[in-house]
């Protein structure tokens, strides 16, 4: 187990350098720098431009900027936003809970619906339900998030007027950020109805972000179940005279879950990518939305360190999945 862990951890360092380098270089390939992006019609004097460039070190050669940045990160300093002059870490920490909240809601939604659907489809293999479900899951898995989100807003918010258009909570409510999770903090709010508002706001983004994982989980569960249902031990269980539901849930599903867990774990990184789009569509104040806005502002420190933080997170989640998988399936560890 220790060797397994070490081999995984040893991959982290090159990944770290690669990610910081890519984040550093890619944003610099976009024309315009953060200082110029902020200048309006009034223009800016050359001296002032030089002064600001110097302050943020953009007058240095690129390799020097990159080295300085690496050293700074290793020292634990993620830098300061060029635009707001707040520390990137502070901004990340305030916005991150919103992203976690949305991602957790989306994956729960995907699991709660995807697992039972997959099981039913497997049990009724070849039925109209099975074909219908698999057809829809192909659609779901290839759903363009941007289009899907806007359609949902158009249908449920604008036409039917049953869900809010965007945000985390109605602007009428003020919730003191205690844990940062709106669905928790709202219970401490003095305003009655704050929680109802928070729940109604998360519904659409949760569905939009959860659609792709849902489709994948449903398909995965189905095929994994089909495999397991043909196993000898399932036949044995049936032969012992156990009821259909009991066989499916206790004997088959538990074993079928192993590959599904991997898929769920791996979809976490996909979720973070999807969250960037979903947060943008729904003005969900999380780190995805923050990064997209920062591209427009050419806010180099935010983009570099924000990308790094998200990469670290994905690495950690993947590591966790690897370990969990190894734990669930002892054969992997060898």
């Amino acid at each position: 187990m220790l060797r397994f862990l070490l081999s995984r951890v040893s991959l982290i360092l090159p990944t770290f350098i690669g990610v910081t380098f890519l984040a550093f270089i890619l944003i610099r390939l976009v024309p315009g720098d953060p200082i110029e992006a902020r200048v309006g019609e009034h223009g800016i004097s050359d001296e002032r431009l030089a002064e600001l460039r110097h302050e943020f070190g953009y007058d240095q050669p690129l390799w020097k900027q990159f080295l300085d940045y690496e050293v700074q990160v290793v020292k634990g300093d993620l830098g300061v936003s060029v635009v707001t002059r707040e520390s990137v870490w502070k901004e990340f920490v305030t916005l991150f809970p919103a992203t976690v909240e949305l991602s957790v809601a989306a994956i729960l939604f995907a699991m709660l619906i995807g697992l039972p659907l997959g099981v039913v489809a497997a049990v009724r293999r070849g039925s109209a339900f099975d074909y219908g479900l698999m057809g829809m899951s192909v659609t779901g898995a290839s759903m363009p998030i941007f289009w899907w989100g806007l359609m949902m807003i158009l249908i449920f918010s604008v036409t039917l007027d049953i869900t809010p258009v965007s945000g985390r909570i109605s602007d009428a409510f003020f919730v003191e950020p205690w844990s940062g999770f709106m669905l928790i903090d709202c219970y401490w709010s003095d305003d009655e109805g704050a929680c109802r508002s928070a729940w109604s706001h998360i519904v659409l983004p949760m569905i939009v972000l959860g659609t792709i994982p849902l489709a994948i989980i449903a398909r995965m569960t189905r095929s994994s179940m089909l495999e397991v249902l043909n196993e000898d031990y399932v036949r044995t269980a049936r032969a012992k005279g156990l009821g259909g539901v009991r066989v499916v849930i206790v004997h088959a599903l538990r074993n079928a879950l192993i590959p599904v867990v991997t898929v769920i774990g791996l979809s976490v990184s996909g979720l973070l990518g999807g969250a960037i789009l979903t947060e943008t569509i729904f003005s969900w104040p999380g780190v995805g939305h923050w990064l997209v806005e920062s591209i427009a502002r050419r806010d180099y420190p935010v983009l570099q360190s924000g990308t790094l933080l998200i990469a670290v997170l994905v690495i950690l989640v993947n590591l966790g999945v690897d370990l969990l998988y190894g734990f669930l399936n002892p054969r992997i560890r060898r």
Partner: protein, 525 residues
């Protein structure tokens, strides 16, 4: 699966649907995030809007007008030579408080001195805080203009100028001339966190700052201790959405009651919605095509004249502005005093243009670039489209225009350096004074988009700035506009009309000629 999903949404949404709001809350769908909470160090309208509920200046603009009225200064006197402005400050003006700061004294002269010295003097401990760039202060030439600011007593401050300057009072009403609390600044400096002054703002304005969630919301509450007319709503929220389609959807769903400018294409639908009203006002702005007078062939006034005779202004207004623009013929908009209505409107005259070109030595036309800015502005909603229309028009007299564009920062920089032959740019006024158009856009000192430097024009506008009599200034600016018309360094495209859609139950809103948004006197029926 999808059906199940939709059914689930409906069920959850119906049971969870939001109840009624408590206190009176006004939500404004704004278009972007403020950079921070101090107008001194910023130049964008978005940041100014976000700060307006919090801060005040010595003087202000009357709600919905360009007229300068008392604000933190109750009254003022100007010496006969126009060099000394003495301000009598308002008494009993309370500062906001926050979790970390409880003011022990009211607003006084020390705050005024502190706020101006922060922007002016290197010696101020706050001069370098938050980057120390005071762009508006420099743009308005304040350092050159000011000789001294003196505290006469706790409630009297005297400004001494180096030369008479008519727009000075209007400058002081602008957002950059904001007054911050010296007591708060001192406390933060002592705590070693001076930069918080621009992130957790303390002001004297009608609303107190409550919370800012980046790219999401800014929340304010009515300030109970406000010296002026108390706000009509208890809570003011700016809901930030960059996407105009989302802002409109939120407005239609009554999630916000007032929304920042819509796209021209959305106007018909908004006008048709019975729950909404759409306010409109001619904007204090100008969109134009500058012709580089330092480069061939535009160094010849006949060529520039010919260009103004072939571009179809009406077609551009119809196709691009879709009713949200009015044709321009002068640099300043018609709502501004000293507008020269005698300037003839542009008239299409292809044959006349061909003749002028032939006289200038270009009987078969020539090749030129025509720059199209990559950003959308009220005064120019679609520069590429305008470029294409102008391109087609110019082709009629043999001028082959190539449309060129760069990323915005690069575009502005290259245009300022005069790399172009023809460039689209524009301007939105800051303080309602004609000086704020003529000097930055056409004076020799300004690197203007036409690289135009005309002695006669320069003398007229310089003289006008030093004259305090408005009738006298009007004459000078009228003459300056005649010079511009004669020389035609620009093809003026349009002054845009600015629209502001809101719910029908919003009362008391007045549109600002500067495009500023202000909500303290707004009520909800």
């Amino acid at each position: 699966m999808k059906n199940t999903a939709i059914a689930t949404v409906c069920a959850v949404a119906l049971t969870a649907f939001l109840g009624s709001a408590q206190a009176k809350t006004l939500v404004y769908c704004s278009e972007g995030s403020p950079e921070n909470f101090n107008p001194m160090i910023n130049t964008t309208g978005t940041t100014f809007d976000a700060n307006r509920p919090i801060y005040e200046q010595l003087v202000g603009f009357r709600y919905g007008s360009t007229e300068v009225v008392p604000s933190l200064a109750e009254k003022w006197t100007v010496s006969p030579d126009g060099l000394t402005f003495t301000f009598n400050l308002r008494k009993n003006v309370k500062w906001h408080s926050s979790k970390t700061f409880k003011p022990t004294r009211n607003f006084n002269a020390d705050d005024v001195i502190f706020s101006f010295e922060r922007q002016w003097k290197d010696a101020s401990p706050y001069h370098k805080v938050s980057g120390g760039g005071y762009d508006y202060w420099s743009d308005m030439d304040m350092t050159k203009l000011l000789k001294a600011i003196e505290k006469v007593d706790d409630y009297t401050v005297r400004f001494v100028l180096n030369e008479p300057n008519a727009p000075f009072l209007s400058n002081l009403a602008m957002d950059f001339a904001t007054i911050q609390s010296k007591e708060y600044a001192d406390a933060l400096m002592k705590a070693g966190k001076p930069e918080l002054i621009d992130q957790e703002p303390i002001g004297t304005g009608p609303f107190e700052f409550v919370q800012y969630v980046k790219d999401a919301t800014i929340r304010f509450k009515a300030f109970a201790g406000y010296w002026g007319t108390k706000p009509k709503v208890d809570t003011l929220v700016y809901s930030i959405n960059k996407d105009p389609a989302v802002r409109i959807a939120k407005l239609q769903a009554n999630e916000c009651q007032i929304s920042f400018g819509p796209r021209p294409a959305d106007l018909p639908a908004l006008n048709a919605d019975k729950n909404l009203t759409v306010m409109a006002q001619p904007g204090l702005n100008i969109g134009y095509i500058g012709m580089n007078t330092k480069k061939k062939p535009f160094d010849d006034v006949r060529v520039r004249k010919a260009v103004t005779m072939v571009i179809d202004q009406q077609a551009i207004l119809k196709a691009v502005y879709q009713g949200s623009g009015q044709p321009a013929k002068n640099l300043i908009p018609p709502t501004m005093w000293s507008y020269n209505d005698k300037t003839p409107a542009y008239k299409l005259d292809i044959e006349g243009a061909k003749k002028l070109l032939a006289e200038a030595g270009y009987p078969d036309g020539f090749e030129t670039d025509l720059w199209a800015m990559p950003v959308q502005r009220p005064y120019n909603p679609d520069a590429r489209r305008i470029g294409e229309l102008a391109q087609a028009d110019l082709a009629k007299v043999g001028i082959k225009a190539k449309i060129v564009s760069y990323e915005w920062g690069e575009y502005r920089k290259r245009a300022q350096a005069g790399e172009h032959q023809m460039v689209q740019l524009g301007w939105t006024g800051d303080n309602g004074d004609p000086d704020n158009f003529f000097v930055p856009l056409a004076a020799c000192s300004a690197h203007n988009a036409a690289q135009w430097c005309n002695k006669e024009f320069d003398d007229l506008v310089t003289k006008a700035a030093k004259t305090s009599n408005q009738a006298e200034r009007t004459k000078l600016y009228m003459a300056a506009q005649d010079v511009m018309t004669k020389e035609s360094p620009y093809f003026f495209i349009a002054h845009s009309v600015v629209y502001l859609p809101m719910r029908a139950n919003v009362t008391g809103y007045k549109m600002s000629p500067f495009g500023a948004h202000r909500f303290d006197l707004v009520d909800l029926k």
